[in-house]
């Protein structure tokens, strides 16, 4: 294990370095093979590590790489923590990333910066694995920042487009705000527990007073809202759609947005100390899930719908964390990774076939032309909508059942969100694949073409995973479920067993009914409609005016402050001081230069007079 675990982490870095060093001597094909290969090998290493962990009695291995920081009482090792949580994360991060890398080799074919794209992609995976595998908060922070900077590079990959450049900046700045939360949490924890390793913190939670614990939880929540795109920092994620589609899939499914939820789940022993903190988390998650779902109903860009759907689904995960159902959160995270990667890569295939068109109003009737993308997308659509027996039904059901046990209003909000989810996904599906063919203008009367094998094969694999993903954690399979596997990490099993089978079945039926309502509503409305002002509320389309509000609250006041700084501070005060000093020197020079008349006798007179004064003074002193 101690040799294997570092391998998981180092392989993507190795790929990054290989491509970086040999950039010019490798052709695009080789770059694709290397980049995909290292992540694939990393996945294999994770699989072996997983099997080894199953045979490990403690289900917890710390692998020390080297001592990183050792100052006074601060000791930060560069060490990896292999436990059920981190290995679960690694499994789907490396697995999904491998598929996305493979897909990208075809999708990015012919791009000018093909090589650079894969450099960033490998570094992205490396950062995410660092984040997940680190055994202390500081090392996690390295990955946390790495993920942030890679997302910045990838979102603004087409940096010659203004929208892409500013979307990258937006993502970076929103994440930076979240980072403050993580730093504050670290400071608080170090001051009170004198350690930053996870196991160290967990064994000294008794040192944290309830107030401090709540503060730490809120700081962690701020960090999570930044990275995982929750209210109030969620609106960078939809803008991140400016990056190439595989990047969207990578950010939304496997890396980045799951990091915030991972952090909260990882810190579950601290979360356990503060019920008000958990309540805040649950409310934030529930609200985000609902708000993002309403926004998704009115978007016209296929990727924007999926982006807000991600925000909404992450909201579900945060909600699950808030009610203490960490296993359910992880279950949804894994199944979401499957179906969201599938949906994004599927939408990428659609966009690819239409030569870059993302507007759903210019699609329609694509089912006939995309014989592989269509059925896989169908699976993705049914999965996210929560139709049994696909993975989404089980995972979302798991979350909602747990929420029901703790908080009825939030559960109701969750069910409404489920209806909306089924509704907007059906709208997307119908507008894209059914109805009239509206794409002729875009494709210049050509027929759309199905994508190459390297793009469709990952779709097929992800579709199978989406179908079977529910098997990970069926409600009645207690011994062999994901929750059971994760139990050692959380120290307790989520209290789902407290509910009767009848109630669980009832709740499952409610979920199913919610999915069906959404499905049929969308079918009825969108079967023959492309645009509708009744159902596409401008308020929702414009993201609840969220950006406008931030603009009015922060953007414009700051702009005014900058204007005032320029007009008054810069132009008057600073320039005034500098130019005033220069001017006074110049003016005094003008006066003094008259003394230099060039007349020798005048100088001589001055000397004599000066001499006389000195003599008179000296004589006076002698007296």
């Amino acid at each position: 294990m101690s040799h294997l675990a570092p391998l998981i982490l180092v392989l993507p870095l190795l790929g990054f370095l290989l491509v970086l060093m040999n950039g010019r001597s490798l052709n695009n094909r080789m770059v694709g093979i290397i980049a995909t290969g290292v992540v694939g090998l990393s996945f294999l290493a994770t699989c072996v590590a997983f099997v080894l962990l199953l045979h490990d009695h403690d289900r917890e291995v710390t692998v020390n790489l080297f001592t990183w920081i050792s100052v006074d009482t601060l000791h930060v090792p560069a060490a990896l923590l292999i436990d059920p949580l981190s290995i679960t994360m690694c499994l789907f991060v490396t697995g999904i990333s491998t598929l996305i890398h493979w897909y990208s080799t075809a999708y990015m074919e012919g791009e000018k910066d093909f090589r650079k794209f894969f450099l960033y992609l490998n570094l992205f995976v490396f950062s995410m694995l660092t984040l997940v595998l680190a055994n202390n908060l500081v090392f996690t922070f390295v990955g946390w920042e790495g993920v942030g900077v890679c997302s910045y590079w990838l979102v603004s990959f087409y940096f010659d487009r203004d929208a892409a450049a500013s979307a990258g900046k937006k993502a970076f700045i929103y994440n930076r705000i979240g980072d403050v939360g993580l730093l504050l949490a670290m400071f608080l924890l170090f001051v009170h527990t004198h350690t930053l390793t996870y196991l160290g913190i967990f064994s000294s939670t008794s040192l944290l007073s309830p107030t401090i614990a709540t503060l730490v939880v809120l700081a962690l929540l701020l960090a999570a809202t930044g990275k995982s795109a929750q209210i109030p920092l969620f609106n960078w994620l939809p803008d991140a759609m400016e990056g190439p589609t595989p990047v969207s899939a990578l950010i939304h499914a496997a890396t980045m947005v799951t990091a915030g939820v991972y952090l909260l789940v990882r810190m579950s022993p601290v979360l356990a100390l503060s019920s008000s903190g958990r309540m805040t988390i649950a409310i934030i998650g529930g609200l985000t899930a609902f708000v993002a779902a309403t926004i998704a109903t009115a978007q016209k860009d296929i990727k924007k719908v999926l982006a807000f759907s991600t925000v909404s689904q992450i909201g579900y995960m945060v909600l699950a964390v808030g009610v203490g159902a960490y296993g359910a959160a992880l279950f949804l995270m894994v199944s979401h990774a499957f179906f969201k990667a599938l949906l994004f890569l599927g939408s990428g295939s659609v966009i690819h076939s239409l030569g870059g068109e993302q507007d759903m109003r210019k699609m329609g009737g694509l089912a006939k032309w995309l014989p592989l993308t269509f059925p896989t997308f169908l699976v993705g659509w049914l999965t996210i909508s929560g139709v049994p027996p696909f993975a989404g039904f089980w995972s979302k059901g798991d979350v909602l059942t747990n929420v029901f046990a703790h908080n009825k209003p939030l559960w109701a909000l969750g069910v409404v969100t489920a209806i909306l989810t089924a509704y907007y996904m059906t709208r997307l599906f119908v507008l894209t694949f059914r109805g009239n063919e509206r794409f002729r203008e875009v494709t210049h009367q050509h027929d759309p073409h199905e994508s190459p094998l390297a793009m469709t094969a990952p779709l097929l694999i992800l579709a199978i995973l989406s179908v079977l993903g529910g098997l990970l954690d069926l409600p009645w399979a207690h011994g062999f479920s994901l929750t059971h596997f994760l139990a050692p990490t959380f120290g307790f099993v989520a209290p789902i067993g407290a509910q009767s089978t009848g109630l669980q079945t009832g709740l499952a039926l409610v979920d199913f009914a919610a999915a069906l309502i959404g499905l049929f509503a969308a079918f009825t409305i969108w079967r023959n409609t492309v645009e509708s002002t009744t159902f596409e509320k401008p308020f929702f389309e414009h993201v609840w005016r969220w950006d406008d509000a931030y603009d009015a609250m922060f953007g414009r006041p700051l702009e005014q402050l900058a204007q005032v700084s320029n007009d008054v501070v810069e132009n008057r005060i600073i320039d005034g001081a500098v130019e005033g000093l220069g001017g006074s020197v110049q003016r005094s020079g003008e006066g003094i230069r008259k003394l230099q008349a060039g007349m020798v006798r005048q100088y001589a007179l001055a000397m004599v007079l000066g001499l006389t004064v000195i003599v008179v003074y000296l004589v006076g002193r002698v007296r």
């Binding site: 060039g598 007349m599 020798v600 004599v608």
Partner: protein, 101 residues
């Protein structure tokens, strides 16, 4: 009989005064030079006087230095005056006032 030191000092003061007056009033560079020499030698006279009355050889030594420096100064100064005269046909210092602020 010995002449009192104060006589020499008065003579030196008079010589210095004449020299200073000349420097301040005359325009010709040559005459100004001569006046400066006068002032220098007036100072030399005081040095010698004090050296004698205080029995200190230091004053007389200083005089030799001053003489050497004065000789050098005159050499350079007269060279400049000759050069200026060749250009301007005049040695009036008031006309040499280009170096003004």
């Amino acid at each position: 009989m010995t002449i009192p030191a104060s006589w020499f000092l008065v003579l030196a003061a008079l010589l210095f005064g004449v020299g200073a007056f000349g420097v301040l009033t005359r325009r010709s560079a040559l005459i100004m030079f001569m006046c400066i020499e006068l002032m220098l030698n007036a100072v030399n006279l005081t040095f010698v006087t004090f050296a004698r009355s205080l029995s200190d050889i230091g004053g007389q030594t200083t005089v030799f230095f001053i003489m050497v420096v004065a000789a050098a100064e005159v050499t350079v100064g007269l060279g400049i005056v000759v050069a200026v005269f060749r250009r301007r046909e005049s040695t009036s210092v008031d006309e040499l006032s280009e170096l003004q602020g």
